[in-house]
Subunit: 229 residues, 2 copies
């Protein structure tokens, strides 16, 4: 019994922070996307390219989660966006409390969109609520087309799946048709984008989708929320 | 306080099973290697190729850990080795208790070497003791050369690191010199192998190393342990 109680207590603490984050984002009509993938799928390159593509259209901020180092936050700043680095020092995913703190480290009132780049891990971050608006999955071609079947959790929950590194499709036996079918079986609503963050292929479609969502969110929230006095 | 007590209790239960597994392996002079990597680094292809290369030299068994599906166990059996599949149903790493049970699902007394293919996850399995003889890390070229710096835990603990998918090195900007230096900073003793499980490049060196270790283990254990009556 004790084990169950404690587990509940930890989850409740996270849920409270997640709810707080959700209210914080809603109040600011600010979409926040929690990007989840294996290590090395190209999340940071993808975010840097997204920032460059949307320059002058959307003002983007990034919360970077890594076990160690601030390599990723530096890459994001170089691409022209503010970034706050969280080092988990061994923990396998970010927590809602860390995100709550990180919001205040970004120039949040100047932003149209916040990305959270979670720790590279296709398992643990998938079911952990940070209070984000949506989860985004990234799967890179060299990881193989069996990953949605083997690691279904994130694909079942993601608002969009980016299949990255399609520039090296020719060097692999990755079957796009199969992977699309497997993802659709898990999640009929998810939007699938084929991209290469390296060459820029497919980035326009993904960025158009982001832009629409950021603008819709602001419009919808403006209608629902009473304007602040 | 309560939280700490429970955490300790869970870890003690795992440690007890890990110690039991270590004694079980020692008694049988059987080396057991816990293979850890990101999803999609090519662990299963690597093990299948290893089994084929060592056919007639070492008798290998495999314990497969996956969130869902038995795709990997089927691939191992197709390569000619006995395999037991564990589905963790969401858990991010294998536990020592699961390994303890799985040993009895393999024809253990006929084996010279057991591989554990852990859940694809570069974080959680790294610090979790299964009672294995050694941990082995796999890093694939398309994941990028920054991974040892960003996910140091497994590289600091691995007896060997396999850099896989070197057949697509030409399509990436992966820097072998940098990655070797970063791994050596974390772990001076680890042996680094450059391989392509797909083309077979480098597999001979890796398999020679395995063969020597399996044979040494048997010889050393035979000297230390009293022969069974």
């Amino acid at each position: 019994m004790r084990k169950i109680k404690v587990r509940k207590k930890i989850l409740i603490a996270n849920e409270e922070y997640a709810a707080k984050n959700r209210a914080f984002l809603k109040d600011r009509k600010l979409p926040c996307l929690n990007v989840i993938s294996s290590p090395g799928s190209g999340k940071t390159t993808l975010l840097a390219k997204t920032i460059e593509t949307l320059r002058g259209k959307l003002s983007i901020g990034v919360i970077e989660g890594d076990i160690q180092t601030d390599i990723d936050a530096k890459r994001i700043r170089k691409a022209g966006a503010p970034a706050h680095q969280i080092n988990t020092e061994g923990a396998c995913h970010l927590s809602a409390a860390q995100i709550s703190y990180a919001f205040h480290k970004l120039p949040i009132d100047r932003l149209d969109l916040v990305f959270i780049e979670n720790v590279g891990n296709l398992v643990c971050p998938s079911t952990f609520d940070l209070g984000e608006t949506d989860k985004i999955a990234v799967l890179s071609v060299p990881e193989g087309d069996d990953k949605p079947a083997k690691y279904p959790m994130i694909f079942a929950r993601a608002a969009a799946v980016l299949i990255n590194k399609i520039d090296i499709l020719y060097a692999t036996d990755f079957n796009i048709k199969k992977v699309k079918a497997d993802i659709s079986k898990l999640n009929k609503k998810t939007k699938i984008f084929l991209v290469s963050a390296k060459t820029g292929e497919g980035m326009k479609q993904w960025c158009d989708w982001l832009e629409k969502r950021a603008i819709n969110k602001r419009t919808k929230s403006a209608k629902k929320t009473r304007p602040r006095q």
